[in-house]
């Protein structure tokens, strides 16, 4: 099935079987491997991308369902919030292996766009869908707060 997806502001023609999750279209069809596979069942958040500004799990989102949407992946995440998040991530040396961090950054960016000064509870609620097996949670929490201060 040939459709056009709008990813990071660019139209991409995709031919993939109906029902193929956006995750595998990104990774295998378009070579955009920044979005990661961690569980395939919406449990780990490694595959998080933004669809019309909302963070979603691309591993359970059929690609044809987001045909008319604006999709943003880690490769395309930009703007002052994403910059502040990345800045804080570097400043606090958040990542260990880094594998979960694309998803963490996409979730954290979405949080800070809507919440200028997230509390610990807000962070727990927004970030608990993103597993980090290296357990960088303490630094992620701190970095989100630092980024919030930097951007607002």
């Amino acid at each position: 099935m040939a459709i056009t997806l709008k990813i990071n502001g660019k139209n991409e023609n995709v031919t993939a079987a109906e029902g193929t999750p956006l995750l595998w279209v990104l990774r295998d069809h378009l070579g955009m491997t920044g979005t990661k596979f961690g569980c395939g069942v919406a449990q780990c958040g490694a595959c998080t991308v933004h669809v019309d500004g909302t963070p979603i799990r691309s591993c359970i989102t059929a690609h044809e369902d987001v045909e008319d949407s604006d999709i943003v992946t880690i490769e395309g995440a930009s703007g002052k919030v994403a910059d502040a998040i990345r800045g804080a991530w570097e400043e606090l040396a958040v990542p260990q292996c880094g594998y979960c961090q694309a998803g963490q950054i996409m979730s954290a960016t979405a949080l800070l766009v809507t919440n200028k000064s997230p509390s610990d509870d807000d962070i727990d609620a927004a970030m608990s869908g993103n597993i980090c097996r290296c357990a960088t949670y303490v630094r992620i929490r701190k970095a989100i707060k630092e980024a919030a201060k930097a951007v607002y």
Partner: protein, 779 residues
């Protein structure tokens, strides 16, 4: 750029083969045009930096040099310096750390550094990134490589000037003669490459005060990529014409395909082929593939869908009667019986029978899965009898030799490129998944990437061993410990590689026979246990269960004696001394290190214990429902104490107001990164302690994905985590694993302090989300 990229005639590798990073983020403008590279990287044609090598002098055969400078460092005429990192990057920032060690002694500007990832090759020495060894085992060799190269460059400059080397100095890539004239490293790199590598005793290493990068925080080499979705992990590798595979593996170890109907699978759009995997041979799985049926497709999703559609009848195989519940009871029963003595001091039996108070406790710890965030994945491509592989492996040389052996080709026909690893924790030191990719790519006749789904990872891993332990302790009337008996029973890692019915001396030395207590009568015994699933090492290995048992038991003894657990621990560790376990009949392997360089030092053990207690403000009043617990252990040559404050609410929900850790890892190359490893190692230990349990029914693992294999998430993470690094000039110790062992017992001790419940079985929460509050106060 380094490595073979788009401009080469070789298969175009879109991602995996790029330089992993480029420190200054400057491109190699004009690379390949007129570069006069003097010192090349040795004779590994598959992975040589094409553009540099084209301009290079003939490649010297460095294979007789054990991690000599020539295989690790090359310097271009314009001063750009390439360091080849032989270790696997899995989040411990080893790339940065290796660069710190080499570049410090080489004395080059940090921004001139470029890093190339080594392929698996014996010439790099030990590449097995396991056992927290990258710094502790290679600190001297990496520094020596940098210093040797610096001396060769200086000698080359001296030769050019016709002066003695003693009249020359070097700093940050520039060699200066006493007359004031200068040459850069780049100016003399070609001439230096023709000199002999100096004998080690003629090379002077820097003094500590001269260190430029060692002991300082340098920014991670990989961070800039990973926060932009750019780093290339094993699962990200793409090769033109590549196909994607997932495999249906036998539910139980050494099970076989009895019948296969692949009609529906082949009808799935995108599925191109179904391949029956070669079955593993012999009785021990080792690093072999597991067998089963592979589905090959044009994308990963189609392969997964195809696998769903397979109809396979399995011959369950020799382990079909393995049921972990019954097995656990058997282990426990064995632990209550005398076993083979492995540590003997005084007369435990007599001392226990004459003790004023005798207490005993049984501990249990379930099988665990490493479950790195990136599941195993590998890509292979054959050209004739040669195979090129890209994989997230902790052990590229083992991957190389295992593939060679199983595919029946010589080692040198197998090139293993190491990608970034999305976590390892021991799982990725077993290259079974690499073998699968090699077998499939040959069968299919095209490059194939094998991806393990999370279900595959959890069901078909190399599991951390299940264990049962029985402890007895005797107290005199003043509450002094007179006797301790520690019995441990667990299926050994050795069972993965050959016949084994008992835990090995090596595993016992991780937390059991290395018990530093100053108790007059002590014994450690091990009982028999066979294994029925693949057992493998997981971050800190047998320390996990042994330290859980004996550091919990220390607090239980303290409670029985009516003493403060921390003061009690200080007491049983006893006076400052260097411990010689051979006096207790133990041949102590000391993590492969010499006891002269790395003695077991109770003074350092007590110092971290004191420090963690001080950081946690031990002894303070805590709010109702809160409790402080503490534990201390030396592992991988590092001393770590951890104090944990838990808060348990009325519903049994557990949270962590704070965790405080003190680590003495000797000389530390990378301080903030060390803290990061202690944080990660500790929380990994807590996550496993609270939730970690792999069970099996009829030989098949019951869990499948994060819903039933639970791991720590943000809402469960501590709010404060402080790590203190002790000042030390001792040789470096490990830091990746030592944070894990004290975590579980400190947690159990904190829960006891908060609720009066003594939890002796891991996972501490059982199958529940929270603590069972009906048991509050039940010791």
């Amino acid at each position: 750029m380094f490595m073979h990229l788009a401009q080469t005639a070789k298969p175009k590798i879109e991602t995996a083969n790029k330089p992993l990073l480029n420190l200054s983020r400057r491109g190699f403008v004009g690379a390949g045009t007129g570069l006069a590279l003097a010192v090349t990287l040795g004779a590994c044609s598959q992975n040589k930096p094409e553009t540099l090598a084209q301009a290079a002098a003939p490649i010297p055969d460095n294979s007789n040099i054990d991690i000599g400078p020539l295989v690790l460092i090359s310097i271009a005429a314009d001063g750009r310096t390439q360091i080849t990192n032989p270790r696997s990057e899995m989040g411990q920032q080893v790339i940065t750390t290796v660069a710190q060690m080499i570049a410090d002694e080489l004395d080059v500007p940090w921004d001139d550094l470029f890093i190339k990832q080594a392929v698996g090759d014996k010439k790099y020495g030990d590449q097995n990134t396991d056992g927290s060894t990258s710094v502790r085992n290679h600190f001297d060799r990496f520094r020596m490589a940098g210093a040797s190269m610096r001396q060769m460059l200086t000698q080359a400059a001296a030769n050019e000037w016709g002066v003695d080397i003693s009249e020359c100095t070097s700093e940050l890539g520039v060699i200066t003669h006493s007359s004031g004239k200068t040459l850069t490293y780049g100016d003399v790199s070609e001439a230096a490459g023709k000199l002999d590598v100096p004998a080690e005793d003629t090379v002077t290493l820097k003094t500590r005060s001269q260190w430029r990068y060692i002991g300082k925080d340098k920014p991670s080499y990989t961070i800039s990529d990973v926060i932009r979705g750019k780093g290339t992990f094993g699962i990200d590798v793409r090769v033109p014409d590549m196909l994607y595979a997932v495999i249906a593996r036998p539910p139980a170890l050494f099970g076989k395909v009895k019948s296969l109907d692949d009609t529906a699978a082949l009808a799935v759009p995108g599925v191109t082929q179904v391949v029956k995997m070669k079955e593993p041979e012999g009785e021990a799985p080792g690093f072999q593939q597991l067998g089963g049926v592979a589905v090959i497709a044009t994308d990963t999703w189609a392969a997964i869908q195809g696998r769903e559609a397979l109809k396979i009848e399995w011959d369950a195989g020799p382990h079909k009667n393995y049921n972990s519940k019954t097995y656990a009871q058997e282990l426990m029963a064995t632990a209550r019986q005398p076993g083979e003595n492995k540590f003997k001091r005084g007369d435990v039996t007599k001392a226990l029978s004459s003790a004023e108070t005798m207490i005993s406790a049984d501990y249990y710890a379930a099988h665990l899965s490493q479950s790195p965030m990136e599941p195993p994945a590998a890509t292979a491509q054959w050209t004739g009898d040669n195979v090129e592989i890209w994989a997230c492996t902790q052990n590229p040389q083992a991957a190389q030799s295992t593939v060679a052996q199983i595919c029946g080709v010589p080692d040198e026909n197998v090139t293993v490129h190491v990608t970034l690893l999305g976590g390892g924790f021991g799982r990725k030191s077993k290259p079974d998944f690499v073998v699968e990719a090699a077998l499939l790519a040959r069968e299919v006749g095209k490059p194939v990437k094998v991806t393990w789904t999370r279900e595959d990872d959890i069901k078909h891993g190399y599991f951390h061993s299940v264990s049962a332990q029985h402890m007895k302790g005797g107290l005199d009337k003043d509450g002094n410990v007179t006797a301790v008996l520690h019995r441990t029973v667990f299926p050994s890692i050795n069972s993965t590689f050959g016949p084994s019915d008992q835990g090995s001396d090596f595993e016992l030395s991780l937390g059991a026979t290395d018990n530093p207590w100053n108790v007059p009568n002590m014994a450690v015994e091990v009982g028999k246990a066979n294994s029925h699933i693949r057992i493998g090492w997981l971050r800190s290995v047998a320390n996990v269960y042994h330290v859980f048992a004996n550091q919990s038991f220390a607090a239980e003894l303290a409670h029985a004696a009516g003493k403060d657990p921390k003061a009690f621990l200080m007491d049983i560790i006893g006076p400052d001394r260097i411990i010689d376990f051979s006096k207790d009949g133990v041949t102590y392997p000391n993590y492969g290190a010499s006891l002269d360089e790395h003695p077991v030092d109770t003074k350092r053990l007590k110092a971290v214990l004191d420090k963690a207690a001080t950081m946690a403000k031990w002894g303070r009043d805590v709010p109702k429902g809160h409790g402080l617990g503490i534990a201390v252990h030396r592992s991988f040559l590092a001393y770590v104490a951890t104090a944990i404050e838990v808060a348990v609410d009325a519903d049994g929900n557990i949270s962590f107001p704070g965790i405080w850790s003190a680590v003495d890892a000797g000389t530390v190359v990378s301080p903030d990164n060390t803290k990061s490893q202690i944080e990660g190692g500790t929380l990994f230990g807590i996550s496993n302690a609270l939730y970690g349990e792999i069970t099996a029914t009829n030989g098949a693992v019951d869990q499948s994905n994060f819903p039933d294999w639970r791991v720590m998430r943000m809402a469960e993470a501590p709010h404060v985590f402080e790590t203190h690094i002790m000042e030390s000039e001792a040789p470096p110790a490990g830091v990746g694993e030592p944070g894990t062992p004290p975590a579980a017992p400190a947690l159990a001790n904190a829960i006891f302090a908060a609720t009066g419940q003594r939890l002796r079985a891991m996972p501490l929460l059982g199958q529940n989300d929270r603590l069972d509050m009906s048991k509050v106060g039940e010791g």
